[in-house]
Symmetry: C2
Subunit: 342 residues, 2 copies
């Protein structure tokens, strides 16, 4: 059982009020009594309760972080960024993984609210249809700052840090076009999610800019997984007018695409040029040299956390709601796999 | 600002005591008054405070989880297992990442203790030298259940769930020997850590069992990273009496080993047989068919969390300390890359 100030009072043979005065450094306490209390604290390994303190100061120094998939390395890196800033500010983090499930997300918000966390950093579940009006009302009535990280929340404007997926995809597809490609297939993520939708838009904008017609048969709508991307890549390879390049619009799909190419012993980029959105660290390290557009993950975590801290501070001073949205531009890393063989 | 029962009392135009009676369902409250209070609660979107409740019930329903590296997919899977069980038991998780740094770990323990978490699930920092007597005293004096997950803590016996690294490595190396290998190099992880030390032991036991002499020049002591493994693999490839197989004793080192083989266009297993400890999901998915010994990650998370819940329940009843250690056996997955070309 954990030690309470009752135990301290008993061990030091003083009143509860005396222990409280010593702990708070308030009121007069005789020096010898103070020493007795300190000895008891040391002997019993007492730590002041942040919970008791939070009731008097109304501060828990705890932040809730809600993400859809902790096993996606993308979020691992985002969390690294968040914890770096949280550490500097002595803030604790309660992490909730929603498995990209709306019900789990609502439950997480409820639990966090009960823990009286001071603010929330979240990437909402991907699907827009999940964000109905009951959901929005839950978010709106939290009464604490909420900062979004790259999610889309329908019907509402929330402060947050976002990634310019359109520009990122545009830059990448433009690099494919500059390398000589015109037949460029795309494997989309879930098109009801902001990242997939915007990356698809960037793809279309780049084709349009260079007057390359959009071919329906080159467009494949996947999810965020490798299984579907594997099947789709096999379909792409069977197309009569086979594309010379594939834009794989998310990191989890990339693995399925590479698997399908490997199975048919096709080389990148000689047999097929490949461009990914978000890097796949493992493939990068082993030297596969897959060209990719990289969302600034750790930076997004840091920026989001800094925005939340700023919101917490502003909240104290004025009763106004400020909307602030920061957009980060992804970086294009050309590794040679965008090239067209002649 | 979050809503308090003062706001409820004001909105319903009743006393604090009345609101409290309604919330606790205790004492007599007139039906019309009760309705007024409930209307105010609904209107103001009030959620009962888990913190206030925790002071009266002495329960926070919150568990601390401390791990050394959230970016290692191994821990991503462990956390999935932990959260599955935590969800079922309506427990919250405060996750702390220590960057494998002793100071951060001590800070995390202190923060968690202040949050009055009910128990801790932890994988301590790898290095044994970190666990000096001051450190041990911090752990010993927490006064709440601590369950270790696969870590080594010197000088003390803690309950926990462990992986039989010795047997896992033994089984894997034996498979290499059965495939015809006698010249087997090993890339160790940090040898002051339990997993690396035990895997090395399993390697030695297997060689000994089959009367294969241990060659010093085949033993490479790395860390848990890909950079050093890359350099070491290049050294292995330059050895005069070159090994025919490499046992890469951790997942992060595997990427560096594969990179070095790829650079020299060496094929697995025709030019070099490869065995890993812990799978590398990405390489597995793209079809590299690397044979590996797999620590039961999600199962370890689930088992650890169940042990912690059990400890929390037992704690209520009796004042005794029970030591319980569960050891999980890793699985050997042979994918063909252990074979010896003839």
């Amino acid at each position: 059982m954990s030690v309470t100030i009752k135990d301290i009072a008993k061990a030091a043979d003083v009143s509860l009020a005396t222990v409280s005065r010593v702990l708070n450094g308030s009121g007069y306490v005789k020096e010898t009594t103070r020493e007795k209390v300190h000895d008891a604290i040391k002997q019993l390994h007492y730590t002041p309760s942040a919970i008791a303190r939070s009731l008097s100061t109304n501060k828990t120094n705890t932040i809730g972080v809600i993400i859809p998939d902790i096993n996606n390395p993308f979020f691992g890196e985002v969390i690294k960024g968040i914890t770096q800033v949280a550490d500097e500010h002595q803030l604790n983090i309660i992490l909730c993984d929603t498995d990209d499930c709306k019900e789990k997300e609502l439950k997480a918000i409820k639990l966090l609210r009960e823990q009286r966390i001071e603010g929330i950093l979240m990437t909402p579940t991907y699907g827009e249809e999940a964000h109905d009006s009951a959901y929005m009302s839950t978010l709106d009535n939290l009464g604490i700052p909420v900062i979004l990280m790259d999610g889309h929340v329908k019907y509402a404007n929330y402060s947050g840090v976002f990634i310019d997926h359109v520009q990122g995809a545009y830059d990448g597809v433009e690099a494919l076009i500059h390398a000589g490609h015109e037949k460029i297939a795309i494997i989309n993520g879930r098109l009801d999610s902001r990242p997939a939708k915007e990356r698809f838009l960037g793809y279309k904008k780049a084709l349009n800019k260079y007057a390359i017609p959009l071919h329906e048969q080159y467009i494949f709508n996947g999810e965020y997984d490798h299984e579907r991307a594997y099947t789709m890549t096999k379909k792409i390879l069977l197309l009569e007018d086979r594309p010379t390049a594939i834009f794989v619009s998310n990191n989890l799909s990339m693995l399925g695409c590479v698997k399908a190419l490997n199975e048919q012993s096709l080389s990148i980029p000689d047999d097929m040029a490949i461009l990914g959105f978000d890097k796949v660290d493992a493939l990068n390290i082993i030297g596969m040299n897959i060209s990719f557009i990289n969302g600034p993950t750790t930076l997004m975590g840091k920026t989001g956390m800094n925005m939340l801290i700023e919101s917490l501070e502003k909240q104290k001073d004025v009763h106004m709601r400020e909307l602030k949205q920061i957009t980060l531009l992804p970086e294009l890393h050309l590794k040679g796999s965008e090239k067209k063989s002649v």
